[in-house]
Symmetry: C2
Subunit: 237 residues, 2 copies
DNA sequence: CAGTGTGAACGGATTCACAGCC
DNA sequence: GGCTGTGAATCCGTTCACACTG
């Protein structure tokens, strides 16, 4: 939709959007209808208007100050990531435990030391924290963020964090997407013979004839790239 | 399951696993049953055996050579990411367009110039490519990867890539997870009044009373962190 | 007798199909 | 005429409940 908006396309039909998104047009209309009657019968949806309404509903019209803790490669990459600003996210501070990093600017923002963490969060009214530290430091950082009043955490460290009720955690595992690709890749290759006959002999293939069951791969729709932006888990209570 | 395995726990019940994963035990049993009858009635599942079977089914017991193109902060972060090796991924090469990067080791692997791209892929039999370039270069890199024989692409650049049929693309948008958090955060805050009364006045709030419809947030289950590892889209045909 | 494997029941999400409107 | 908005029909994933087994 943003792309359409940039090309100054005035209106879209549910059919067009649905095709682009790889879903059924009825579903798209029904979903939009939950936000209100924003379309015009016989015409379609006003692009600008719809972009605005959806942005508002998603909370993208607000200003979300965010702190990033752990300014290694990943932290730096996140700090430099252009996609945040346009979605209403503002990097309020970069925090790292390494005193040598302190004061050094990354993406134009000076890195601050972990000691300042609580003060930074309070002063800026930050409610979302990003953890990009090594696994070992993650839980500790998390605890401090929560204690300082943060209620949403995006965790890139390969650990499951434990948090009190009311705090929302989402974990990003960079290897999961690769695994999904590999899974499909395996399928593409395995089209030939039905019996793979593994090599690597760690666990001895115990009894039980692996009765290659249904095992059907999920629905094959057109060109939808990337993960579904699911919104599962933790609701505010 | 890996954690259980490391603690040498011999068996698990579907109930235990289900609780840990935040799902219903029946669902877990049914899902496992699609892989075969790997449990023992009255006992549970053999941890080691199950780990192996699932790994194999997911394609994690194979060796997947991967190339990373674009060795900026993100590319470097990916190259250094520990989670890949344990999942069967091997970084076969790092590729960057900047001649100054060539030869420089990142994560112990020397960066090679884009000119070598085709040769590297062919020589190493690479079928999965990771794009971590700026948006502007992504499509071009993608085309070369595909031409060189790559059939799965993980795209971190903020562009939708177009690829021929048979090539699998997954796009990772680092800001989507933040958006999901912000969405929930907005909900938490909006518990007070029902009328937000926006500030930012870009699009003039046109007619139509935004009839705050159902708009219910998805199911609230226990502590599941992160996105569902969905496996949608593109099936091998 | 604890715990798997699975047919049957359930319920929510998707799709159909069409009335209503521009 | 074209396209939205939406009740009704349908589909499909989830859960129940229990027969079966080690």
């Amino acid at each position: 939709m943003t792309a359409l908006s940039e090309r100054s396309v005035p209106t879209v039909s549910s059919e067009e959007l649905a095709t682009a998104a790889g879903v059924n047009s009825a579903k798209l209309r029904k979903d939009f209808s939950y936000l209100g009657s924003y379309g015009t019968r016989g015409v379609g949806y006003d692009v600008e208007y719809l972009v605005y309404q959806i942005s508002r509903e998603l909370g993208l019209t607000q200003d979300w100050p965010v702190v990033i803790v752990g300014i290694g490669n990943l932290g730096a990459a996140l700090a430099n990531y252009g996609g945040f600003a346009s979605r209403g996210f503002r990097v309020a501070a970069l925090i790292d435990a390494d005193p040598a990093m302190a004061g050094k600017p990354v993406a134009g923002i000076p890195v601050q030391h972990t000691d300042e963490l609580e003060k930074i969060i309070t002063d800026n009214g930050v409610s979302i924290g990003v953890i990009a530290t090594p696994a070992g430091a993650a839980q500790q950082v998390c605890d401090r963020l929560v204690a300082a009043g943060i209620t949403s955490i995006l965790n890139f460290a390969p650990t499951v964090l434990s948090v009190p009720d009311g705090v929302d955690v989402r974990k990003v595992d960079l290897s999961i997407e690769l695994q999904i690709l590999a899974f499909h890749e395996q399928r593409k290759a395995g089209e030939e013979i039905a019996a793979p006959e593994e090599a690597a002999g760690a666990v001895p293939p115990p009894p039980v004839a692996p009765h290659r069951a249904p095992s059907a791969a999920p629905g094959a729709d057109s060109g939808r790239q990337g993960p579904d932006g699911d919104v599962p888990a933790v609701m505010p209570a």
